[in-house]
Amino acid sequence: MQLYRKKRIELVVETARAKAIIEMIDATGAKGYTVLQDVSGKGQRGIRDEAHLTGLFRNTMIIVIASEEVARQIVERSQVLLENYAGIVALSDVEVVRDEHF
């Protein structure tokens, strides 16, 4: 079974910014992404959880598996989009079977 090396990008961003991030991911040519709504956490901007009345203090997690090239672009462009917003980005190595999916 042939495995292909890809990058996995994990973003945790404030929900208000998730849409812009996802549009950016699409624009880089990534072939897919996975979204986990309603994640809570803590970071530089303090504790963030589901204060649902406003929804402003929620996080969304987005996972993208992509080629190194695309991954690098996503990481870079996310920095601009996350200025003034809560969010982190982490990159790691993964292997996948069907190259054409990523």
Partner: protein
């Protein structure tokens, strides 16, 4: 006055709110599931919209409707300017934060309105159904005012390339926000189906209305109680603004409503619209369009200061004054 305030205080609505705040403060794990909470909030919008529409149909559209809606527009556009001036003058907030906050006070709090309509209902005080339409009209114009204020005050505003105030997408989101669509839609349906429609919907939207509101206020109390710690981040001059701004807004609202010739009930509700601050639609818009403003400040102010103030002190107070005004006009 005191009598009314106390009568207001011992209603289940207020007491459940207080229970919520206390439970939140003492960090009890009492919590209403998110989905239920969201559901209750949609319920209140649907119910208030539908009943407003049905009442409108029953009363026959009066000539004052257009006038009222225009007044709503003026209030929503205008109040932020006043709020902004007060904030810049009396607090040390920078222009972006002041602009963001000001937008909240031009818009409205649906739950405060709903609570006020419950307050009137308890006392058998009628009100004009189209006040609900004013609610819908007032939700979003204030956002534009707030953004204009932020832009005008930007030091680099003059030379910078002109970006649109609200991106096309942000405009869409604001205009088509769920609460606007649901209230306007329910109002129309209530108006179209009238008495027959109301008979069908009544077992859900009329009879249990106040009890559901009480449960929702318990939930709001819980959320506010948990955030009380954030007061420190807000600062006392700003907290004070959250207390006097509603009174000023209410006064202006009463003047408008009185000039239009609304009943005491209608005047009370317009006062509440002017006095209350948005905590759903406007915060979301500000987070998108003024990302440098600190959401902890504007959410806390709107939700943890102005909302309880209006709920407990404001509603009976505005009603008292509205009755006086109505007697003066009527007499």
């Amino acid at each position: 006055m005191l009598h009314i305030a106390i009568g207001n205080l011992v209603s289940p609505m207020i007491l459940f709110f207080v229970l919520g705040v206390l439970s939140g403060c003492i960090k009890s794990d009492l919590a209403i599931p998110d989905a239920i909470s969201k559901g209750l909030s949609l319920y209140l919008m649907l119910a208030i919209g539908f009943k407003g529409g049905a009442e409108l149909a029953a009363s026959g559209a009066a000539g004052t409707v257009a006038l009222s809606l225009s007044a709503a527009l003026v209030l929503s556009f205008g109040l932020p300017v006043l709020a902004y001036a007060l904030l810049r003058w009396l607090t040390s907030l920078d222009s972006v934060n002041a602009a963001a906050i000001s937008a909240h006070y031009g818009s409205v709090s649906i739950v405060t309105f709903v609570a006020a309509s419950g307050f009137l209902g308890d006392r058998g005080v009628p009100y004009e159904g189209y006040v609900v339409a004013m609610l819908a009209v007032m939700e979003t114009p204030a956002i534009v005012s707030g953004l204009l204020l932020a832009r005008m005050s930007r030091p680099d505003g003059a030379g910078a390339p002109r970006t649109p105030l609200l991106s096309r997408e942000a405009t869409r989101e604001v205009l088509l926000s769920g609460s606007v669509v649901l209230i306007v839609g329910s109002l129309l349906i209530g108006w179209l189906t009238g008495k027959d429609g109301l008979a069908i919907m009544a077992p859900v939207i009329v009879d249990p209305f106040k009890a559901v509101l009480a449960v929702f206020l318990l939930d709001m109390g819980l959320q506010i109680g948990r955030r009380l710690g954030e007061f420190k981040a807000v600062g006392w001059p700003v907290v004070a603004f959250g207390l006097y701004m509603p009174v000023i807004g209410a006064a202006i609202g009463l003047l408008f409503a009185n000039a239009i010739g609304l009943s005491a009930g209608g005047m009370t509700l317009v006062a509440v619209l002017a006095a209350s601050a948005s905590y759903i639609v406007v915060p979301a818009a500000m987070r998108h369009s003024l990302p440098k403003a600190n959401p902890a400040i504007y959410v806390t102010l709107s939700l943890a200061v102005t909302f309880p103030f209006n709920l407990i002190v404001g509603i009976p107070l505005y009603y008292k004054v509205a009755r006086m005004l109505a007697e003066m006009s009527g007499g």
